[in-house]
């Protein structure tokens, strides 16, 4: 193989094969050990992942600022924060600061989405 020009498939395949061989070795080693008792993934982790994933699915129509507002309101409540006035202030302040710092100061144009007519 190496006596000719290296085809584009060569390097990734060598790496994948090496990873697979090492994984097989890990598996064999694992068979000799007793399976450690692992706590179940807490429901809150799934919920957090789903909320973030769902937010990102609608990132294009919503825009980054609305997405950040939503996440900064939903995640604290999801994680048990019950001081709603603080959550609201935080949810408004975070995207506002990001707009000031990145859009106005650094000139990074973030997707405005729903706020296109205002920003």
């Amino acid at each position: 193989m190496l006596s000719q020009n290296i085809p584009p498939t060569f390097f990734p395949r060598v790496i994948l094969t090496t990873v697979l061989l090492m994984s097989a070795l890990l598996l064999v080693r694992g068979l000799r050990k007793r399976e450690p008792v692992r706590d179940r993934v807490p429901g809150i982790v799934y919920l957090t992942g789903v909320v973030i994933g769902a937010g990102l699915v609608v990132l294009n129509p919503l825009g980054i600022y609305v997405l950040i507002f939503l996440m900064c309101s939903l995640l604290p409540i999801l994680w048990g924060e019950r001081r709603y006035n603080r959550v609201l202030i935080f949810a408004v302040l975070t995207p506002s600061l990001i707009y000031l710092l990145f859009d106005l100061l650094l000139g990074l144009r973030l997707p405005p989405g729903l706020l296109e007519s205002i920003l």
Partner: protein, 492 residues
């Protein structure tokens, strides 16, 4: 001459302001449990695009140095290291704080960290140009062998299993092969997505693996109550304390710098070795774990010394010395700079600017750390329910900011989910990032080597430097296995 001219950067108010901001930001990020220095540097990286090269790298360098120190604040005050390199500081830091000596512990952490950082910078200033001279003897085969050696060193990187680290590194290298192959122009694993033609940018992967996966981890710890030691009086270390620890600081500085220079090794291993050696050489070794001040000086000097050490291979050879320097390597590339010997020849002002910025950061955090330790101790108590959604906002902006593509935000999310799953099964995110950064260099140097060596792989073994690195690589892979075998034999 270049060495002296570099000091001019410290007269630039913008650079000084950036260093001060980076130092403050680094300490704060380091002090927040869960926010490590690679994560802090990764989150800041997209925004350095808008700065000139020297302030951009100065900002990241300051965050790197100060973030490593910042981790010790939470280690001492709330018994939880703010960042992995501060893990060994917990052993004696928290017991000291519990005895009402929090100020003494924090003061010693600041002084030892600054001493370690300054020592390693002196080594960096002296060794990096010499190493760069040596690097002129490097051709593609030598670079290929060096990447193999660097990958092998992942085996001994911090983490539970050397094999898992190597698998993680391999996955990172594989990710680096996505996109158009530079030699043949053939698309690989792009699935027709145009945004992937240029490959997977490492910044979104990095942010996802470090920051988003940590957010998911933190979501499950949200109700964990952390005990906090109140600091009523800020009593600093005495002259007697310094007389007692100066040898420990010096020893740990040498250890940390040496460990940092090795590719892939970083502050965490340096700190653990620094702590063990401090205990081994101490006349009060029996007090370790119960609040011994040498138990703070040892790991703190070592983990900060590793920061300068890790920059030696990064700047001289373009091979990252740690996960954070892997990100900084990316920052240099984003700025259109290619680390290596030519950088020393063509941009000496930039390099000495980086060195002096780091020196300034180390001196600054000594004063800021000593003066504001009480204030920073409050920062560590920011409610996670507010902290992590703010980190998420930075993740989204950071992932989007590099190429201004929403696809990168999705890549960040997928990397975050994968990172969480991998961490759950004992895989550390750092080797994946190192693999992703080294992957391109590895493949390109292999392709160039084969052309240079007339497609005869045996000719790799006719070049002394190449053979040396292959041998080191072999030792790097076998050493952790041999260590485990010997431990098993010696245990009853």
């Amino acid at each position: 001459m270049d060495f002296l001219s570099g000091i001019a950067v410290l007269y630039d108010p913008l650079i000084l302001g950036v260093i001060l901001a980076g130092t403050l930001g680094g300490i704060i990020m380091g002090a927040l449990p869960g926010l490590s220095s690679p994560m802090a540097v990764a989150l800041l990286l997209p925004f350095t695009v808008y700065l000139e090269p020297i302030p951009a790298i100065a900002l990241l360098s300051a965050v790197y140095c100060a973030g490593t120190y910042g981790g010790s604040i939470t280690a001492i005050l709330i018994n939880a290291p703010g960042a992995p390199p501060a893990a060994a500081t917990v052993f004696d830091g928290y017991p000291m704080a519990a005895k009402g000596q929090a100020g003494r512990a924090l003061g010693m952490a600041a002084v030892s960290s600054a001493c370690g950082g300054i020592f390693s910078l002196i080594v960096l200033i002296l060794a990096a140009p010499w190493l760069a001279e040596l690097a002129y003897a490097f051709g593609p085969p030598e670079f290929f062998a060096l990447t193999i050696f660097s990958m092998s060193m992942l085996g001994s990187m911090s983490g539970k299993s050397s094999l898992k680290n190597l698998i993680g590194g391999g996955l990172g290298v594989f990710l680096a092969t996505i996109g158009v192959d530079l030699t043949t122009g053939v698309e690989r694993y792009t699935f027709g997505i145009p945004e992937l033609y240029e490959g997977v940018h490492f910044v979104p992967v990095l942010i996802g693996l470090f920051a988003l996966s940590e957010l998911l981890v933190q979501s499950s710890l949200i109700h964990q109550v952390r005990e906090r030691v109140r600091m009523s009086v800020m009593k600093l270390p005495t002259l007697d304390d310094y007389k007692r620890v100066w040898k420990t600081i010096l020893r740990s500085s040498v250890i940390g710098t040496g460990i940092g220079v090795l590719p892939a090794e970083g502050g965490t291993i340096a700190a653990l070795i620094g702590y063990n050696e401090a205990r081994r050489w101490s006349s009060r070794s029996e007090n370790f774990g119960e609040g011994e001040i040498e138990g703070i000086a040892g790991p703190e000097a070592a983990n900060n010394a590793a920061t300068g050490g890790a920059l030696v291979p990064t700047l001289a050879l373009g091979i990252p010395g740690s996960a954070t320097t892997a990100v900084m390597l990316g920052a240099l590339q984003i700025q259109g700079l290619q680390p290596g010997p030519f950088l020393f020849e063509q941009q000496p002002d930039l390099l000495y600017g980086i060195f002096y910025s780091m020196l300034a950061a180390n001196i600054l955090f000594l004063f800021v750390g000593l003066g504001c330790a009480k204030l920073f101790s409050r920062i560590s108590m920011v409610p996670p329910a507010f902290l992590w959604p703010a980190v998420f906002a930075l993740c989204v902006v950071g992932a989007y900011g590099i190429t201004e593509s929403v696809v990168d935000v999705y890549i960040m999310f997928l990397a975050g989910l994968a990172g969480y799953a991998l961490r759950r099964y004992g895989f550390s995110p750092a080797p994946i990032v190192m693999g992703l950064v080294l992957g391109k260099l590895m493949e390109n140097s292999l392709a160039q080597s084969m052309i240079l060596l007339d497609h005869n792989p045996l000719m790799f073994f006719q070049r002394p430097i190449t053979v040396l690195f292959f041998l080191f690589g072999l030792i790097g892979i076998l050493a952790p296995q041999a260590g485990r075998w010997m431990r098993r034999r010696s245990s009853p």
